[in-house]
């Protein structure tokens, strides 16, 4: 579904991503773990078109999208739930969801998808007319994911969904990720919570200062000594 081929990204003099090549097969959950500043968010943003590449290519469903601008990539079936949620604070939950479907033309299925979002996240239904800025962190995260799903993507990108969330909610979010996978959605997940991410992923990459240092099946890396020491802490 997604293929990154020797991607390099720089912020001026600082090179954030070096020679990264990875693949996300259709219908699977792939995760990228790593420390702060490793370049994970930058990588996700480049997939959706928000970060320009210095060199390298991005392939979406076999198509080279490297030079296609971000607002056109949504139509190709990729959606991002950004780091820090990125909800529109001055608009209601309902409006945020509707904005997620902005690029979609048909109004009828939009209403269906809104219903589907509320079914997936009942808390959002309770708060449908509330300003998104007044929601709690977990509710905002749910809104961000629901909004990303509103354009019916084939590939869903999640940037640190567990950031600042309560343990119960984090469990819910990962449950949601599992159930989304069952519907056939392809997911690329960037996470700090390495244990949860590796448990849910089919395949995983470890990013260190912009470079991929380890890769393998989720379960393999969970048991890998070096990965445990660096990223899994005391657990």
């Amino acid at each position: 579904m997604l293929k990154l081929d020797r991607v390099n990204i720089s912020y001026g003099a600082i090179q954030a991503v070096r020679e990264v090549s990875l693949e996300v097969p259709k219908g699977q959950v792939v995760t990228i773990i790593g420390a702060n500043g490793a370049g994970k968010s930058t990588l996700l943003k480049s997939v959706v078109g928000l970060e320009p590449l210095v060199t390298g290519r991005v392939f979406l469903d076999g198509k080279d999208v490297t030079s296609i601008p971000a607002h056109k990539r949504t139509k190709l079936g990729v959606a991002l739930s950004p780091e820090g949620r990125g909800v529109f604070p001055d608009q209601t939950v309902q409006d945020n969801l509707l904005l997620g479907a902005y690029a979609m033309k048909d109004g009828a299925s939009t209403a269906d998808r809104v219903e589907r979002s509320y079914n997936m996240f009942p808390r959002l239904r309770e708060r449908r007319d509330q300003m998104a800025g007044t929601l709690s962190g977990g509710e905002q995260q749910m809104l961000a994911i629901a909004r990303a799903l509103m354009c019916d993507p084939k590939l869903l990108l999640l940037d640190e969904p567990s950031l600042g969330l309560a343990p119960l909610i984090i469990r819910d979010i990962f449950e949601t990720i599992r159930s989304l996978r069952k519907t056939g959605l392809t997911i690329l997940l960037v996470e700090q919570m390495a244990n949860q991410a590796l448990a849910v992923a089919d395949f995983a990459y470890v990013l260190e200062t912009g470079r991929i240092t380890h890769q393998g099946k989720g379960s393999e890396l969970l048991n890998d000594e070096r990965v445990r020491a660096a990223y899994l802490g005391a657990h």
Binding site: Q130, G164, A166, L168, I169, I170, G233
Partner: protein
């Protein structure tokens, strides 16, 4: 005050004075004079626009205040022109307060509108109220400044304005290089964070407006006294734009900006004087041009081309004991540290707090946990004055702080970090921490302005304490980097260092481990324990259960705004309601 800079100032001033001596032509002398006048306007405006970030469109009103005060006092009351000049400065300062008051809570286009309206009101006032101000006919016979009975000639005026310019520059430089400069910059970066370190946003905004008003007022008075005539034609919206342009085109926030702006724009103004409509067109174009292509003005552009010279590192402190000395055991057994008593908060149909009560113990590490939306951040915001409780009392060491302003609460001894990082991103790490010291530094406005020895000592002491804190948190190597350029985890540590610099009795941490990986979280835990051992009481809002359980002495659990449990970590971990609402079956 460093010698090289003083030498450069002397050289520029001396050069200008010499140039004036050599020029025989009154027309050119007048241009030089106006450069000085506009420099005065720009120097003050730079504080308001460049440092405090308040873009005022009504400075012509302050120019008028100074000019008409000097004019009226020397004509109707026959006052000595020197005294009139002083009175003009004071009158303009008072008008500065007048324009500041409605501008305190507005921002962006609303601020532009308020300041614009002020300028127009003054403009209309002086042109319509002809009995007092003379309207377009103006006021004649304004007394010129004189020395030993002889009124100033054009040359003396130029020298006078150069001298004034030098004095203004040196005084403002003193002010801006210390805690006042940092405080102004913090207003631009993040007002809520500024309040949390003890900067009274309202007070500093008013101060910035007054400084800009005084310099513009003095400039106006001088023009009136030199011309010995003044009328309402001088005061127009175009003058306000011109004064703003001086700073924006020259380079806002840059110490050379006002000079560059004054010189360049006075020359342009003189060249275009014959064609007023082209003048307005050019100013408009320059405004657009500088905002779009040169956001840091000409001075900023030059600085970029020359390559920025490195900051000279400030005095380094080696002793960690300095930090310990500040946080002596301060427990006061007469009063509980913090007493939250049946506090409630309602707004817009949401009830983030309902009759919540708890008490904090001196020297302990407390944690506030609960599901998202439970009201934890709301509680922290009520304790620190960002929000006012709807009901109930919050008492800190015996003092009621419910509804008090954030900067007051900071001074009383509560420091905090924010859930969504609020650093002063454009300032260096060291400057961020120094801002934490703001409320503990005792040098006032006049001491800072005149760089009195007491002020210099306070600044040096604050720098030492800041370095010591950077040592404690391990950021000393990055002290000079812009805070916004650091990786996320380190940015959080800067915010923590800044909060520590306020010398708090109680430190509130809002989700300090958010975005940190397990290793960084463990380091954070050790750091918090280290801080606690210094005698500081801690209350943290957290979701990372391993962190909470391993270092807390006492845990309070909120759910839907209600306190559902309280006790030691082991009690909380076993509590059924907590498990159900928050922890889940595998309580980690």
């Amino acid at each position: 005050m460093r010698a090289p800079h003083l030498l450069m100032v002397a050289a520029i001033a001396g050069g200008a004075a010499l140039l004036a001596l050599l020029i025989d032509n009154d027309y050119y002398l007048r241009i030089l004079f106006m450069m000085g006048v506009y420099y005065l306007c720009a120097a003050g405006m730079n504080v308001l626009v460049g440092y405090a970030g308040q873009k005022s469109l009504g400075q012509a009103g302050l120019f008028a205040a100074g000019a008409y005060t000097a004019a009226l006092l020397t004509t109707s009351l026959d006052l000595n022109p020197w005294l009139a000049l002083g009175a003009a400065a004071i009158a303009a300062g008072a008008c500065g307060v007048l324009i500041a008051w409605p501008s305190l809570r507005v921002r962006g286009p609303y601020l532009a509108m308020v300041t614009l309206a002020f300028g127009i009101v003054v403009e209309k006032l002086v042109s319509e109220w002809t009995e007092v101000f003379g309207g377009a006919d103006g006021i004649y016979g304004i007394k010129s400044l004189a020395i030993f009975g002889t009124p100033f000639g054009m040359l003396q005026w130029v020298w006078f304005v150069i001298a004034l310019g030098v004095v203004t520059h040196l005084l403002l430089r003193n002010l801006l290089s210390g805690r006042f400069g940092r405080a102004f910059l913090s207003l631009q970066a993040d007002e809520i964070a500024a309040e949390s370190v003890g900067v009274s946003v309202y007070k500093y905004k008013i101060l910035a407006f007054v400084i800009a008003a005084v310099t513009c007022g003095v400039a106006g008075a001088i023009v009136a006294q030199q011309n010995q005539y003044f009328n309402s034609d001088f005061i127009s919206f175009n003058l306000s734009i011109f004064i703003l342009l001086l700073v924006l085109f020259g380079g806002a926030g840059n110490q050379y900006g006002p000079l560059v702006g004054a010189i360049l724009l006075t020359l342009i103004d003189a060249q275009l004087a014959k064609w007023p409509s082209i003048q307005h067109f050019v100013y408009g174009a320059l405004l657009l041009f500088s905002l779009y292509l040169m956001p840091n003005g000409v001075a900023g552009l030059i600085k970029q081309l020359l390559g920025s010279r490195g900051h000279t590192p400030s005095v380094r402190s080696k002793s960690k004991s300095v930090v310990a000395a500040n946080f002596e055991s301060v427990s006061d057994s007469r009063h509980p540290l913090l007493d939250v008593d049946t506090v409630s908060k309602h707004f817009g149909g949401v009830r983030p707090a309902q009759d919540v009560s708890f008490r904090l113990q001196w020297g302990h590490v407390h944690a506030l946990i609960g599901p998202n939306g439970a009201g934890k951040s709301t509680m922290i915001n009520m304790i620190t004055g960002v929000l006012t409780p709807t009901a109930g009392r919050i008492t800190f060491v015996g003092q009621n702080i419910g509804g008090a302003e954030s900067h007051v609460i900071c001074r009383l001894g509560i420091g905090r970090t924010f859930q969504n990082l609020r650093l002063f991103a454009g300032l260096s790490v060291l400057e961020n921490v120094l801002l934490g010291q703001h409320c503990r530094m005792k040098n006032g406005f006049w001491a800072s302005l005149f760089a009195l020895p007491s002020s210099i000592r306070e600044e040096a002491a604050a720098q030492e304490r800041a370095w010591a804190i950077l040592d404690v948190v391990g950021l000393a190597d990055l002290a000079m980097s812009p805070a916004g350029s650091l990786p996320y985890g380190l940015q959080r540590r800067v915010e923590l260092a800044r909060a520590l610099a306020t010398e708090p009795k109680l430190l509130l941490l809002d989700e300090p481990a958010a975005g940190l990986n397990p290793q960084e979280t463990a380091e954070l835990g050790k750091l918090i324990v280290k801080i606690s051992k210094l005698g500081i009481t801690i209350l943290m809002v957290e979701h990372h259960m391993d962190l909470v359980m391993s270092i807390s002495d006492h845990v309070v659990v909120l759910d839907y705004g209600i306190k559902i449990a309280e006790g030691t970590p082991s009690i909380i971990q076993a509590d059924k309601r907590v498990i159900e609402a928050y922890l889940g079956a595998e309580a980690a």
